[in-house]
């Protein structure tokens, strides 16, 4: 039944799959910060009875609903589409709603902290404004000239395929907040803004590509990318973020020469 992922399975999971009783005891280690109590953040452990096939978000819900109602985190759809609950789980940026407990070794304490590089407001909630500012700066909307057509703006399947990967972005900030250049100073546009610029630069219907390339040609644009691939590893949608950034670099070079 579970031969393909046998390596990853813990004893607890095998037992869970065999029998009817599923629960195991996990420790959720959450980085707590409340400016109304203390200026220091600290770790707090929660013991929970969870099914290993449940998600980290379910564990957070269980804490908030049954143990400590002051635990603060964002989530909206809870199914990996809205991009609200990106957080650093066991040191890696992921969506809490897409991370199963069995996949992150529930036998050890599971650490959960806010994403890095943005101001922590409370517990797992960060100020996303610098992130969205960079997003707005690249003008993530269709720019055209001339009269509006009376029908849809048509495009071939190949033209659509060109930017398909970067349409998947849900703006969760997992990539940008995993980027060491962004950590150092929030001035770098960050992977997410470049991905969303890429989505329009390579859209055959759009005519604002040159403006966006000009914006990303600046000193805090694509040239600050060090290709560490943290963003590609972090992306919960599997977007090849670093590749998209490199494609923007290539477009800049080929259009300038």
């Amino acid at each position: 039944m579970s031969t393909s992922t046998l390596e990853k399975h813990s004893k607890a999971l095998d037992a869970a799959e065999d029998g009817a009783s599923h629960s195991i005891t996990i420790t959720l280690r959450v980085r707590r910060f409340n400016p109304e109590v203390s200026e220091d953040a600290s770790w707090q452990d929660f013991q929970l009875e969870m099914d290993p096939k449940e998600r980290v978000l379910d564990a957070l819900h269980k804490v908030k609903w049954e143990q400590d109602g002051t635990l603060t985190f964002r989530r909206s759809c809870a199914h990996g589409i809205c991009g609200s609950d990106a957080m650093r789980i066991n040191g890696k940026n992921r969506l809490a709603c897409k991370t199963l407990l069995k996949d992150i070794n529930p036998e050890k304490p599971i650490t959960v902290e806010a994403i890095k590089g943005l101001t922590v407001l409370k517990d797992l909630v960060v100020d996303m404004e610098p992130f969205f500012q960079a997003y707005r700066d690249v003008m993530p909307f269709l720019i055209t000239t001339g009269n509006q057509p009376t029908r849809e703006r048509l495009q071939t399947a190949e033209d659509r395929e060109r930017f398909d990967d970067t349409t998947k972005c849900i703006l969760c900030a997992a990539c940008t907040s995993s980027c060491p250049v962004f950590w150092n100073d929030g001035q770098y546009f960050g992977p997410a803004a470049i991905v969303n610029a890429h989505r329009f630069i390579f859209d055959s219907r759009d005519e604002g590509g040159e403006q966006r390339l000009e914006i990303l040609n600046d000193k805090d644009g694509v040239w600050r990318c060090r290709t560490t691939f943290n963003c590609t590893d972090a992306c919960p949608r599997g977007i090849e973020v670093t590749k998209a950034i490199q494609e923007v670099k290539r477009a800049l070079i080929t259009r300038r020469f």
Partner: protein, 148 residues
């Protein structure tokens, strides 16, 4: 009772840690130059040339024809009698220095925390680079084998 508990409350919350160099109205506007692109391209192109120049240099100086023990004033004087080696060393000097300086410039940009630190580290870097490049160029072109 703990000090930190009494220090902060709902009306008087602790200051949150702002991200470094937050984008404000004072943040410089876009420069609209291709400098960063040229810098990025230069690193790649000079890197390719430097692989040939530096490995060739090391091979000739340290491995072939007697190894490192052959190097002396006479050896250098003999090499620089030929314009080919003068150009080789000159190109290697300039490319290596600019390549290294540009690399350090990006490292300083990435790691310096304060604007002042960043500025003075870069000034130090540029001064050292210009000095080394000019001194090296001067030596290559004014080298006198009959000195002393």
């Amino acid at each position: 009772m703990n000090d930190s508990v009494s220090l902060y409350d709902v009306d008087n919350p602790a200051p949150v840690i702002e991200p470094p160099r937050k984008r404000t109205k004072k943040t410089p506007k876009s420069t609209r130059t291709n400098f960063e692109m040229y810098g990025w391209l230069f690193m790649r192109l000079s890197g390719i040339v430097l692989v040939v120049l530096v490995l060739g240099h090391l091979l000739l100086q340290l491995v072939l024809d007697g190894g490192v023990s052959k190097i002396g004033f006479a050896f250098v004087a003999g090499r620089w009698a030929s314009p080919f080696w003068q150009v080789w060393d000159l190109v290697m000097l300039w490319l290596a220095m600019l390549h290294g300086a540009n690399g350090l410039r990006t490292v300083i940009n990435d790691y310096a925390q304060r604007d002042n630190t960043r500025f003075w580290l870069k000034m130090l870097l540029y001064t050292a680079t210009v000095f080394t490049v000019l001194l090296g160029t001067l030596v290559i072109f004014t080298f006198d084998p009959n000195i002393r």
